[in-house]
């Protein structure tokens, strides 16, 4: 047990020192599946907005491609050594407003890591973030190509991002004080890298379908599988 903690600290130190792709430690990889018929997404009528109308006709809350579920946040919920500090990446996470929707719709950043908000639409968007533990904001981007950067300070899951000009626009922001999180793409796949050896509670969160957790024990190196599956009506 003592040895486990020690190795965890050493591995974490490895993370601290890691600059670049050569991340040490173990990985948790998997795929998030969806079985059954996905719930219908809310229809969106963008006819009032010339620049966006016709591009999208529904709010893609649940996106399933070949059984794979997109926009799921997978993160280490507990099991990390207490008091451990992790440096934030300086590489910005980008959210783009295009066709009067957010891309991607589920976002995850580390506390201190920049979130870059872009407007690719030639119309006004406001970006309203109402957070509980972080400082919220409500800013405007009236022109195409405008970029605004914000950072956050505290761990918080499922912070809503919304546009009041276009009431159908929603995204979710998640802030972590550690780097052990990932968001699934269209293939439903995720990889969490650089974990010290240990046993962790890993949670998969989806804005509509809820959460699933599993316990994952990882060795000092190598990849450990963790596959999640959401069901219709769950």
């Amino acid at each position: 047990m003592k040895l486990g903690i020690l190795s965890a600290i050493i591995a974490a130190a490895g993370v601290l020192g890691a600059a670049g792709p050569a991340v040490q430690g173990a990985a948790v990889t998997g795929t998030v599946k969806f079985t059954g018929t996905p719930p219908a997404n809310p229809k969106v009528d963008m006819s009032e907005e010339d620049a966006c109308k016709g591009k999208y006709t529904a709010d893609p809350v649940v996106t399933v491609t070949g059984g794979n579920l997109k926009d799921v946040l997978v993160y280490v919920k507990s099991g990390l050594p207490a008091g451990q500090k992790f440096p934030a990446s300086t590489a910005p996470v980008v959210v783009d407003q295009e066709g009067c929707l957010y891309h991607p719709r589920t976002l995850a950043v580390m506390a201190g890591q920049p979130l870059e908000i872009r407007n690719s639409d030639p119309v006004l968007h406001n970006i309203k973030v109402v957070a509980k533990r972080n400082r919220g904001f409500n800013i405007s981007q009236p022109t195409r190509g405008m970029k605004t950067t914000r950072t956050f300070t505290a761990q918080e899951i499922a912070i809503p991002i919304a546009c009041n000009v276009h009431g159908w626009m929603h995204a979710n922001l998640n802030v972590f004080t550690h780097p052990f999180f990932a968001v699934t793409g269209a293939d439903g796949a995720f990889t969490i890298r650089g974990l010290p050896a240990g046993t962790y509670e890993v949670e998969a969160w989806h804005e509509k379908l809820g959460v699933q957790t599993m316990s994952v024990t990882v060795p000092a190196t190598g990849s450990t599988p963790a596959n999640f599956s959401f069901k219709a009506g769950s």
Binding site: E48, V123, L124, N126, I127, K128, V130, F137, N138, I139, S140, Q141, P142, T143, M146, K147, T148, N164, V165, H166, G167
Partner: protein, 381 residues
């Protein structure tokens, strides 16, 4: 934060251009009355429906009505509301700080310099020809009377936050016919499918209240109320639609079919159509504002059924307004207290001739006195 540039017509015009560039109109509307296309979908941080501010009523602004206060709101946004900050827009060099000041000056210019004050008496000036319609330019020079309205909170279902907060009244008569022009701000021309979402938000926010809100939008309404019988020694009827003992006369205009009904009322929502007093009307809706002209002969065709208007005598008048997209009807709405309408007595010709005669006599006497004095001076010399 800087200081406000000097206000000028060019500056106001630039403010309007930036207002369009950064799309303030999306919520506040082209006319600034809160009638923008996103207005029906707005909610506050508690998920409650919230109206886009009517920028032509600066006395109602949440953050204050001066140019400096408006500029501050543009800089910071308004917490808890959909109003965003525009500071990042300056930082990104999309607009300059001075241009944001220009927007503040333009917004301020949409409201009168001083907040309006209600007056008890609405005067109908005597004229020789009456305007033909509410958008007739003949109305532009006629005094506007401000009548503030409040929620109807006496009769159930009560209504604490009505959509219409005031009606402006103008009145003229030509000795034969009374013409009234009523204008009021209403963000929606009800029923309007674009406002279905708003009614849904209202239903959710109100719950069952005194009674559930309707599933569908009703009409916009404006009611004018007079005592059914009136002489100066009578007590005023109950201001909310009268009573059985003392009914009131109602002129009920509705956007549903754009019709005007005359009748009597014995209480709010208790209306009986009655013989016509021959009132005619014409209504216009433009970007968040209704304008309604009503004309009626001073002496109605059936004087037993409808009240006469007599120049030189004040007639009590009260108002009721409702916005159908807001879940309002003929009970849930905005009401006024009793006011009075006074028809000027046309001035007889002697009123104009007498001063001229007086001036001529005085001047004549003056000349005579001076002549006499000059003559005397000549004789002495």
């Amino acid at each position: 934060m800087g200081r406000a540039p000097r206000s000028s017509p060019e500056g106001i015009a630039e403010g309007r251009a930036v207002f369009e560039q950064v799309e303030c109109f999306k919520c506040h509307g082209d006319a600034g009355r809160g009638e923008g296309q996103s207005a029906p979908t707005l909610t506050d941080d508690a998920g409650q429906p919230i109206r886009a501010a009517d920028l032509s009523e600066s006395w109602n602004f949440n953050g204050g009505s001066t140019v400096e206060q408006i500029y501050t709101r543009l800089r910071t946004g308004l917490d808890g509301t959909p109003m965003p900050s525009f500071s990042d827009v300056i930082d990104a060099n999309v607009i300059t700080d001075e241009q944001l000041w220009r927007v503040a000056q333009y917004v301020r210019s949409l409201s009168p310099r001083e907040p309006p004050r209600p007056s008890d008496v609405i005067r109908a000036t005597a004229v020789t020809a009456l305007p033909a319609a509410p958008d007739d330019t003949a109305w532009s020079g006629v005094e506007r009377y401000y009548v503030p309205l409040v929620g109807q909170i006496v009769v159930k279902p009560r209504w604490f936050a009505p959509a219409v907060n005031a009606v402006w009244v103008q009145a003229l008569h030509d000795g034969q016919t009374l013409a009234l022009r009523l204008t009021w701000h209403d963000r929606s021309r009800s029923p309007d499918p674009a406002w279905d979402e708003w009614l849904g938000l209202m239903r959710d926010a109100m719950g069952n209240g005194d009674a559930p809100l309707p599933d569908e939008q009703g009409a916009d309404r404006l009611h004018l109320q007079f005592p059914a019988r009136w002489s100066d020694d009578l007590e005023l009827p109950f201001f909310l639609g009268g009573s059985t003992r003392q009914p009131v006369t109602l002129w009920r205009w509705s956007s549903d079919g754009d019709k005007l009904e005359e009748g009597t009322s014995t209480g709010l929502g208790r209306f009986t159509p009655a013989a016509s007093g021959n009132a005619a009307h014409s209504a216009r809706y433009d970007r968040g504002e209704w304008a309604l002209q009503i004309t009626r002969p001073l002496v109605p065709a059936d004087s037993a059924a409808a009240i006469p208007f007599v120049p030189g005598r004040a007639m009590p008048i009260a108002f009721f307004a409702a916005d159908g997209s807001h879940g309002e009807d003929d009970v849930r709405g905005a009401v006024s207290a009793w006011y009075a309408i006074y028809l000027d007595v046309p001035a007889p010709p002697r009123v104009y001739i007498a001063p001229i005669v007086a001036v001529l006599i005085t001047a004549g006497l003056g000349v005579a006195v001076v002549r006499r004095a000059q003559k005397r001076a000549t004789e002495t010399a």
